[in-house]
């Protein structure tokens, strides 16, 4: 089939999935019982006030018209070119504000947190998973598995608070909130990721400060997520280590590390990679809780705040954003998988 045609096909397949996703979000947010405007005002407004908000947000139109407007807003290329973000409506809380703009300015923080957490979770998960599988049924195997199981049962925000207590309050080593020490200026925006931006500008102080602020939140999210990765890696490795080509490799006198990583892990890794992609959705859920714990100004904090404000258009926009993000990641993972496994393409 070739890699290129696979990529194209895969991208085309994303479209119906996206459509379905967007429709479902619309269903939940508009069709579920509960008038968003009434809920927003919590019945403390006059009918005229409610009506004027409805008109301003386009919520007085019939449902199908709203649906089309909603979908249309997302693919409105002109709008995207003008503003740099898609049309997700206006905020109920601040009706002059574009939800799309707010989301896009909050998003990079979440992205940065997600990337670092994923890295930490993968590294811990794979290394411990491999170690566990190599020493099957030994004490270290049981300890590692125990660690993996327990981390799954810990509420993310609890671990976050514990870390804040230990490292922030008692030891005072690391900051417990915000993306960077308020005394230091944040780096100029290129990607929106503080660590990358400060590196790109040679701003070492900014780099270290933002890294310090990232450490606790990504460690929290990373550790909780690693439990799953440990288990997946271990299971896949145990199966793979038993396969003939691994024994055959040992029979040729290849080095232990070559056999473990070049033969076993390289073949076990592909299903692990897919699982990692699926775990991304869980990561985002955890990110919301982590952001709240560490006052991290990302999409999670945004959605939590908007819940307090009863800003339903904003909540809808944020949910759409999460969905888009997950779809994109799964697309990338599938393409990566095809690139790494020659058997899929041929």
């Amino acid at each position: 089939m070739g890699l290129r045609s696979y990529i194209i096909t895969r991208i085309l397949l994303t479209i119906p999935t996206l459509l379905l996703l967007l429709s479902m979000v619309f269903l939940v947010m508009r069709v579920l019982p509960g008038d968003p405007v009434a809920l927003h005002f919590e019945k403390r407004a006059t009918p005229e006030q409610m009506e004027s908000m409805r008109r301003a947000l386009g919520l007085d139109k019939p449902l199908w018209a709203q649906y089309l407007e909603y979908l249309g807003g997302l693919v409105d290329i002109g709008y995207i070119l003008d503003h740099g973000y898609p049309n997700l409506g206006r905020s109920m809380y601040q009706t002059s504000e574009e939800v799309g703009g707010q989301i896009f300015s909050a998003f990079p923080a979440t992205l940065e947190l997600a990337i670092y957490s994923m890295i930490i979770a993968s590294v811990i998960g794979v290394l411990l998973g491999v170690a566990s599988s190599k020493s099957y049924n030994s004490i270290s195997d049981h300890l590692i598995r125990g660690f993996g199981t327990v981390t799954y049962a810990v509420p993310i925000f609890f671990l976050g608070i514990v870390f804040q207590l230990i490292f922030g309050v008692y030891l005072r080593w690391l900051p417990t909130s915000l993306r960077i020490n308020p005394a230091v200026d944040p780096p100029a925006t290129i990607t929106g990721l503080y660590t990358i931006d400060s590196l790109l500008q040679g701003n070492l102080l900014g780099f270290f400060e933002s890294l310090k602020a990232l450490l606790l939140p990504s460690l929290t999210l990373g550790i909780i997520l690693s439990g799953m990765f440990i288990r997946m890696t271990r299971t896949n490795m145990l199966e793979t280590l038993r396969l003939d080509f691994v024994t055959a490799a040992k029979a040729r006198g290849l080095k232990e590390s070559t056999v473990t990583y070049g033969y076993a892990l390289r073949n076990a890794f592909l299903p692990i990679l897919t699982m990692m992609g699926l775990q991304f959705a869980i990561l985002l859920g955890g990110a919301i809780l982590t952001e709240k714990t560490f006052s991290w100004p990302g999409l999670g904090t945004y959605i939590v705040d908007r819940i307090d404000f009863r800003d339903y258009t904003a909540i809808q926009g944020a949910v759409v954003m999460f969905g888009l993000f997950v779809t994109l990641v799964s697309l990338v993972v599938d393409i990566l998988y095809a690139y790494l496994d020659p058997r899929i393409r041929l």
Binding site: Y136, R242, L243, D244, F245, K250, A251, L254, T258, R266
Partner: protein
């Protein structure tokens, strides 16, 4: 001086359900350039025996007793990294199923280059590549296919590649575990011929493991017949063909169908191999033996020399025994 000398080898599998003695009291020797055949049913311990020679018995297997001397070095006592330098270089192993013995995400050429550079780290990439091309050509594979992946080859081709990997560093000993079982009959002969021609060119000793006694009789100098982990008979192939002593060996030979006879009834040995978690007391073969005596059910027969190059483990022989001649039907 023999290349390989095995003394009273015993190998256990320590499973959660109990311990199995997969190999019991096996002793033999192999000279440079000789071929030895290990014959037996599934579960007879022949594969375990083969794997223990390169110390790759899988978990939960353990070598519990005995010595395995390759060129006077007892490999049972070696450290793992010393063992690793032997594997692939001095002694090589060819696995049964070629479909699953190659790394699916590694190109064929890369398999060879990696092998060469592991054992001879001073060789540069260029030279390793040249040597790979030579080996691949000798296997009868087009050199353009060096950069293909394993799944792009047929079963027969993959087994050639496995053979190639085994002989690439010119080892003294090659152990081939059922090299043709997973292949169809026509390819079988080609593979065995290839193995034989390479062996002659490089002067390697070969241990051929198979459940197909006819292949072993044809291609091996010496034969060991294994049953339930025990070595029942050990002789040159000519001796074993002409003068099989053990009832099991006789049974195996009788059950080989003769293509030239019409109306041949297929003879099988009655019964089935024992449950290794609960092997029979005494001689492991007695439940299926037509000559069983009282002593067979109680004591294990010792290995007795019955000819110049002929050993048997059976109470029918030795000072107390009665010789039994095989009934010739053809």
């Amino acid at each position: 001086m023999p290349l390989l000398k095995v003394d009273s080898l015993a190998v256990d599998y320590r499973t959660s359900r109990g311990t199995i003695r997969a190999v019991e009291d096996v002793s033999f020797s192999l000279k440079k350039g000789e071929t030895l055949g290990l014959a037996g049913e599934s579960g007879s311990g022949k594969s375990t025996l083969g794997l223990s020679i390169i110390r790759l018995v899988p978990y939960p297997g353990v070598i519990v007793k005995g010595h395995i001397k390759i060129d006077e070095t007892d490999i049972v006592k070696l450290r793992e990294h010393e063992m690793r330098s032997i594997r692939g270089r001095k002694a090589a192993y060819i696995f049964q199923d070629p479909m699953t013995s190659l790394n699916p995400v590694k190109r064929i050429g890369a398999h060879f280059i990696e092998l060469i550079r592991t054992h001879e780290p001073n060789i540069g990439k260029e030279e390793a590549f040249e040597r790979t091309k030579t080996v691949v050509k000798n296997l009868g594979i087009l050199s353009e296919r060096i950069n293909d992946y394993p799944h792009q080859f047929s079963g027969g081709m993959r087994q050639r590649i496995m053979i190639g990997l085994a002989i690439a560093l010119n080892p003294d000993l090659v152990i081939a575990d059922e090299p043709t079982t997973a292949l169809d009959v026509i390819v079988q002969a080609k593979i065995l011929d290839l193995l034989e021609s390479l062996r002659k060119v490089y002067g390697m000793a070969l241990i051929l493991i198979s459940h197909d006694l006819s292949i072993i009789l044809e291609r091996c100098d010496k034969i060991i017949v294994m049953y339930a982990g025990h070595m029942l008979e050990y002789a040159t192939s000519i001796e074993m063909h002409r003068n099989p002593k053990h009832p099991y060996t006789q049974g195996l030979l009788q059950s080989i169908p003769n293509i030239e006879l019409f109306d041949q009834k297929l003879v099988a040995i009655p019964g089935s191999p024992p449950d290794m978690f609960n092997p029979p007391k005494g001689c492991s073969f007695w439940p299926r033996c037509s000559y069983v005596k009282k002593i067979c059910r109680v004591k294990e027969p010792p290995l007795i020399k019955v000819g110049r190059n002929h050993f048997v483990r059976c109470f029918l022989y030795g000072k107390k025994g009665v010789h039994v001649e095989r009934n010739r039907k053809s």
